[in-house]
């Protein structure tokens, strides 16, 4: 905010001879059309096209019949429009029908994987955000010896590569008998992640203390302060963190691959790789594959459409001035 105001104040001054930006009477900088600006926009639009067009190609392929793809490999519209790929992916075709349409005929059920992804991601998100919020409050607001040392130790785990802890964690989950259970997939990230604690602590540090102090004078204990004053005032950041956590959990592949191979608990990312490996070699079921990726991507695309602004604005280095 301040930067814009300051810029306009200066732009009105004599130093600005107006080749690039000039303050208009309304206070908004008026931007004269220049070749630089036009080519800048052209590059930006190109970048956006490069980003978005592959997704349109995904939709177009998913709505095509697999056998017609080869003959119409470059048509922009679906080649021989059909819902067959989606039926195949949701296990709504008989094996014969699926094979006839270019599928492998192996049993595949993305409804199940979709449900499993929802269960796992929700478990992780709810628990991780709740427990991390509790810890973040203790790091931001409570007074105890060794607090900052423990916090630094927690943060240091950001430097440990996930593969390093993944092998011993796999052994632990195996020994606990939790292989191929939802809890086994979710547990390692349910109690905390350093990022979640860091994120919420930053916010709690910036919150005004007045209400908390007042509640304290009224004799409220920290538990009540946390639930009745801090949490309601932190709904925004908690929602943002939940969104980021949900997306990360939804997209994770490596850990569920290690501990959740079984069909009962198979999540979408693992289901996709299984589906790809079952696809007939030589003439792969591209429509089916794209329909499957679309199903897996859709919930995140919808979340992004609804809350994109929150996600976009949360990205940056909060600690740097």
């Amino acid at each position: 905010m301040t930067t814009t105001q300051r810029r306009e104040a200066v732009l009105a001054g004599p130093a600005n001879r107006g080749t690039r930006r000039r303050a208009s009477p309304t206070g908004h900088p008026r931007r004269p059309v220049s070749w630089g600006r036009v080519s800048a926009w052209a590059v930006l639009i190109l970048a956006i096209l490069v980003t978005v067009v592959p997704f349109l190609w995904m939709i177009r392929t998913a709505l095509s019949s697999n056998h017609s793809l080869a003959a119409n490999s470059a048509s922009l519209l679906p080649a021989d429009f059909s819902w067959g790929a989606f039926k195949r992916v949701f296990g709504m075709q008989s094996p014969e029908e699926a094979i006839a349409q270019g599928g492998s005929g192996a049993a595949i059920n993305f409804w199940l994987y979709l449900r499993n992804s929802f269960v796992v991601s929700t478990m992780i998100t709810v628990a991780q955000v709740f427990f991390s919020a509790l810890a973040a409050y203790a790091f931001a607001r409570l007074q105890w010896r060794g607090r900052d040392k423990v916090f630094t130790l927690f943060l240091a785990t950001l430097l440990v590569p996930p593969i390093f802890t993944a092998l011993p964690n796999f052994l632990l989950i195996k020994n606990l008998g939790l292989l191929n259970t939802f809890l086994g997939i979710a547990l390692p990230t349910m109690l905390m992640t350093p990022f979640a604690i860091f994120f919420l602590r930053q916010f709690f540090l910036g919150m005004s203390r007045e209400m908390e102090e007042a509640a304290k004078l009224d004799g409220a204990n920290h538990l009540r302060i946390f639930f009745q004053i801090v949490t309601p005032n932190a709904v925004g950041p908690i929602a943002t963190l939940s969104l980021l956590t949900f997306i990360a959990a939804w997209n994770d592949y490596f850990w569920p691959l290690l501990v959740g191979q079984d069909e009962k608990v198979r999540v979408l990312t693992v289901g996709l790789s299984v589906f790809k490996s079952q696809s007939p070699q030589g003439a792969p079921d591209w429509s089916g594959l794209m329909a499957a990726t679309l199903v897996a991507a859709l919930p995140i695309l919808l979340l992004f459409l609804a809350f994109g602004k929150k996600v976009v604005n949360s990205i940056g280095f909060s600690g740097i001035k």
Binding site: L134, W144, L159, P161, L167, F195, T245
Partner: protein, 310 residues
């Protein structure tokens, strides 16, 4: 497990409470608040780190118990051609990925800063980052298909020979690197964009008064002042880049032959295909050490913790 999530490494100590009113420490309450996270930290981060280190000195095939064999795993690794191949392949991937990703992201960040600050533009560019690696990999696997992929279709229209993006040893790693440039470009650009916004505007005003053109302003003002953010971005993206797995696993699976068998895939193969947990643990200790050294060197030589603003 989150992939590289914006770990903002700077952390300021919480201001000491002035709660002279109560004076006493909140230790008991703090213990209650922190207990679940502490259990998570100890059970899933601290103990596994120590256990991983221990396992790297053992022979362990998941049956029975680990047998201490000292440095044997490390000695074997030093002579393991596949390990050195994995290092070379991963190195090639990291260099291609980071160089292009950083240049494109910096360009996009500058464009966003000077031309379009709109959330819509930023949102569109961020989109691929929010979609799972596996999905992105399969999407490009289709678009880059040798027979009927749209990219090869376009290449043919241009009168050029088709490219076996995933099927040729030369192309496999650059292809995978570019897929991830595509996925991470917008995200990295947003981080740099945040850094650009943090540069106080008056320095630009001074430069303009002194008659510095855009080119000179970029090299003498923007780049030096962006450096701390740039270093942090590089540390985070390089560390993430070394851990490439998903994209390779669902496209080439390490092939053709071993042309794209990156280090994390090699660790996975050792642990879960060959059941050699000790050896796989030693490999991941080495990866961990490399990441530590790389991060340290970047911080030291790019002086990431110093700011020109003083």
């Amino acid at each position: 497990m989150a992939t590289t999530e914006i770990p903002a490494l700077t952390h300021t100590a919480a201001p000491v409470l002035k709660s002279g009113r109560r004076g006493k420490s909140d230790l008991t309450t703090a213990l209650i608040f922190i207990a679940p996270a502490m259990v998570g930290f100890i059970v899933f981060y601290l103990v596994p780190t120590i256990r991983g280190l221990y396992l790297s000195f053992t022979s362990y095939d998941l049956f029975g118990s680990p047998v201490w064999i000292g440095l044997t795993n490390y000695v074997k690794i030093a002579q393991d051609k596949l390990f050195w191949n994995a290092m070379a392949v991963t190195g090639e991937y990291v260099v291609i990925n980071i160089v292009f990703q950083t240049i494109f992201a910096l360009g996009l960040a500058l464009l966003m800063y000077h031309v379009a600050k709109s959330t819509l533009v930023r949102g569109a560019l961020l989109l691929p980052y929010l979609i799972a690696n596996v999905i992105v990999a399969l999407l490009w696997f289709w678009m880059l298909d040798y027979q009927i992929g749209i990219v090869n279709q376009v290449i043919e229209w241009l009168g050029l020979p088709r490219v076996a993006f995933f099927g040729s040893g030369t192309w496999a790693i650059p292809t995978i690197a570019f897929i991830n440039v595509w996925r991470h470009m917008g995200y990295t650009a947003l981080l740099l964009f945040a850094g650009l916004q943090a540069i106080p505007h008056h320095v630009y005003e001074v430069a303009a008064l002194d008659g510095a053109g855009p080119w000179k302003t970029f090299w003498k003002i923007t780049m030096p002042l962006l450096r701390p953010v740039m270093v942090l971005v590089l540390v985070v993206t390089v560390i993430g880049s070394f851990q490439i797995f998903d994209t390779v696993a669902v496209t080439t699976g390490g092939g053709p032959v071993n042309a794209s068998r990156v280090i994390q895939l090699y660790i996975y193969d050792k642990a879960f295909t060959e059941q050699d947990f000790g050896y796989a643990s030693a490999l991941s200790v080495i990866l961990f050490a490399i990441l530590g050294v790389v991060a340290f060197l970047q911080m030291k030589f790019l002086r990431g913790n110093e700011s020109e603003l003083g």
